[in-house]
Symmetry: C3
Subunit: 397 residues, 3 copies
């Protein structure tokens, strides 16, 4: 997009009904309307094009973006830092070990104490099933209350950087990748995507990516197929979301038993490992109980169980069965690549390598998706603000 | 305050005699003159109002604000980061574990090495009695020397983020809260404040808050009453400061034995736990000696000793004995709340909850107090600089 | 330099042939041409003078500077943070423990994932002989490939913050110190510098400083003398570089056996401890094997071996044998100072103290050297960009 394209896209954005994104959080994609989802893609692309055209995206003169990472992170951490930096915010990590949180203070108190000058709070909390999303809601309610009570001069908004239920910054980047790959959101209609489990020699991987994928991809009239070995079910309520979405969007959502059936004639494949839901529940209990022996035992049992399904691998042979033998391969990264990062893993090395560049491009959308989420939650009239930025640049030239 | 109010307040600030704050540190409140203390409150309120009115407070084009946290911190860490960010400085934490400081280099050397482009150094060092303030003075002297010798192109100034003696960013925020609560600094005259010990099931809490409170609150003509169990004395030299202050300000400073007498007819109560001075001394020696067994034993003895005074709790019953039964409850947070963060603690849950919002508002002054301390130490004519910022904003409109 | 001096220096810079610095990395000084080395000194001095004259050096509106520290660091960490901040970049540390790197992802993948909005990557990796420089090259190739493939919208450039072979930000600062001390780069011609080993009660110190010194100082027609005990050899390929350099520059490079001969009539002395090359190799193998017993044993043997050479100390007596008894003493800091940071070390306390201020001034060049390396790699026409910054400032006045 050049400057004219940007201004046209801003024009289209201004027609979207997105009032309730203002001062609101981005926790689960299925809590956002069609217009809100599309506006997020548009804003991400506008910001990306602005940067490419050397138009400053700096809308904040000052302000903190607080990050809370309760699990390890490389790409999301850097994407969040990049997004905030692009808009003019300084990131400040809440390292719970270096804080006084263990002093017994409440979530409500901490949430307010870190937010006096915070515009944004980004949280990753995906380790404990049933707690990540709950924690985010508690933080969101706390700062909402603080804002209402006059404690906080502004309402910091939350961005879910991965919880136990959804991983919206990932899946929104995934869809933006599909939009650009297939030449428009309207072209997603009728496309078949296979979200399948794949074998990995590790255990305890969150369910948020496959859940997020079926919860989001079903909104664009796609044929979403989920396949996994017995026992590796996703949260039933998210499957309900997928079913409901697909009915509304004129697409389809089906769960089938095998990887080969899922791959057949697929336009897109997303083979990825995750832990069985029941294992995650048991793990959560053991972690809370601090039962290290139990955890070791669970890991052992789980890895052995995984091994039964070692043939769930995205191979060249399987890829040949997809639409024209050339489905788009996707992964949230890092992938377990057979013969590269492990002996047997989620994907054959030659498949991964062939799709490496598109993969990396897909990952590159994340900073802009996050920036868009921030932007739309902080400006009452985002289209006006974006126009202001573009015009300001013209004056500086 | 609107823009006119801000300009009036700047006018009043310009009349204050604050020359010696320039390029100077903020270590202990009692080393600052009346004018300097009042100027800090004024500047904090000016900056807070500027931000509220969308007037940029960014006075630094670049520059580092170095933080050194030798103890855990949430609110002070975020307050410091917020204050620096507001003024345009980037915070850089000196993590002593990730540095080469253990290589045997001197405080003087480290202080200079981190300061080549540093405008501000914020230090929290409250763990060891007799060392925190001493360390800060050493750092201050080192950078002063470096500046005089031409090693440092600018003089980074120090802000005490809590030492073993005082906690000025906390107590200055506390007083600013009182000023706003009672409608002016002149209205503090004659008010009775009860700074009292309170029971907590933890041990080793620093003395800097109660010391800072009696060292500062005695300057405004208040009736400051200190109450604590036998053996929980504060540093004698700080009590001397309190006595001297109260004489000069026309107030009073008294130490009394019991909590109930202290609360009687009080306008403000500040019940908070701290460790006995002698325990902190013993602890400092044991920590330096690395005597883990001795520390465990001390903790046990100390917790048992604390338990004798489990009835030192801020209850509804006690609150009813205060002035009109409605004294302002204060705490530096996080508080040990009975039945919430512990079984028996410093304060009854219903009392805390009733004062929760004012508490949080009180905590919200800290970023602006820190920003004011920085501002006044870095600009020779702060009133002129503030006027410039306000006028600049008018031009941009 | 005043503004006129700055503009003159920019004029001189514009005549240098430095095209290949654009979008290029700074890994080893001997991979840079004479013009490139000199341009780096000039740019560092221009930026330093600009800051002194309150001319903003902020050339980036946004952008990350990623740092990867695989070894402890104080001064380089703060120098890098200062340099990036001066130019308008926000530093983001890649803490490998908090990342998913252990998930088995490749260097290529991580390098791209952290670089979507990164302008600069600074790396310290000096612990393992034979790996630091190799790792940096791999990162550089990865982001070059990502840039070529369209994954990265800009080419982040690498700055070597110390590897196993060279320490260019240190040695370039050292030479800038010499240039300012002796009144011009042309005055270095014929000066004798003694790079000598010195005793230290620690072990495992990297070879990158002495190697960097002989690899860089030999370029200015200096007489570079290296002295160390038997077995403390440097990498043979770096000695070859030194020989070749000295031939081209009309200087000399010689290795001699003793400290006293090296110091004789020297204009500059640089006495510093390092580990024998063979020890570093053994250590690298033991570290990779996780052989803690072997490492303990190696340390013991190595410290005992060191002790044989406890008389390799920079004493007042030795200093008197230098040119006019007043050679310039240099060290990369922190030094092991006898009677201060250890019983017996690299240098007598009185020698160190006499040269303390010049030492600190020398260290103070590092932020500007790093800023210059960044600047020259990110702007196609650095002289034009610098002129723009100076003129912009005039308009603002």
């Amino acid at each position: 997009m050049d400057t004219n394209g940007i201004l046209e896209s801003i024009q289209s954005l201004s027609a979207k009904k997105i009032d309730s994104m203002y001062l609101n959080d981005f926790l689960l994609t299925w809590h956002k309307s069609e217009d809100e989802i599309v506006a997020t893609f548009q804003t991400a692309e506008i910001l990306r094009s602005m940067r490419k055209n050397n138009v400053s995206c700096r809308v904040f003169d000052s302000g903190l973006a607080v990050s809370i990472f309760r699990d390890k992170s490389t790409r999301t951490r850097f994407s969040f830092a990049s997004a905030c930096n692009l808009l003019g915010l300084a990131t400040q990590d809440l390292d719970e070990e270096k804080s006084q949180i263990t002093h017994g203070e409440t979530v409500r108190e901490t949430a307010n104490m870190i937010s006096f000058l915070a515009e944004i709070i980004g949280i990753r909390d995906d380790m404990y099933l049933g707690t990540g999303h709950t924690y985010m809601k508690e933080v969101a309610q706390s700062v909402e209350q603080g804002y209402q009570e006059g404690v906080l001069p502004q309402r910091p908004t939350l961005v879910n950087l991965q919880c136990d239920i959804d991983h919206p910054t990932q899946t929104m980047s995934d869809v933006l990748h599909l939009i650009n790959h297939f030449g428009g959101i309207e072209n997603l209609k009728g496309k078949k995507i296979a979200m399948t489990w794949a074998y990995s020699p590790s255990y305890g991987k969150p369910l948020s990516v496959p859940q997020g994928v079926i919860g989001l991809m079903t909104r664009f009239g796609m044929e979403v197929v989920l396949a996994h070995p017995q026992g590796y079910n996703l949260l039933p309520e998210v499957e309900e979301v997928a079913k409901s979405n697909s009915r509304k969007s004129g697409g389809a959502y089906t769960r089938i038993a095998g990887m080969s059936e899922a791959f057949k004639d697929a336009d897109i494949v997303y083979p990825k490992s995750w832990a069985p839901f029941t294992v995650m529940e048991e793990r959560t209990q053991l972690l809370h109980a601090g039962d290290h022996y139990g955890l070791k035992d669970l890991e052992k049992r789980c890895l052995e169980n995984n091994k039964q399904f070692i043939d769930w691998e995205c191979t060249e042979k399987l890829m040949r069965t997809t639409k024209d033998g050339s489905a788009l391969y996707m992964h949230c990264l890092p992938a377990d690549i057979s013969g590269v990062s492990c002996e047997s893993g989620e994907v054959e090395a030659s498949v991964f390598e062939r799709y490496r560049v598109p993969q990396y491009i897909q990952a590159g959308y994340k900073p802009y998706i996050i920036a868009a989420m921030i932007f739309l939650s902080k400006f009452k009239n985002p289209a006006e603000k974006l126009t202001e930025l573009v015009n300001q640049n013209h004056q500086n030239e």
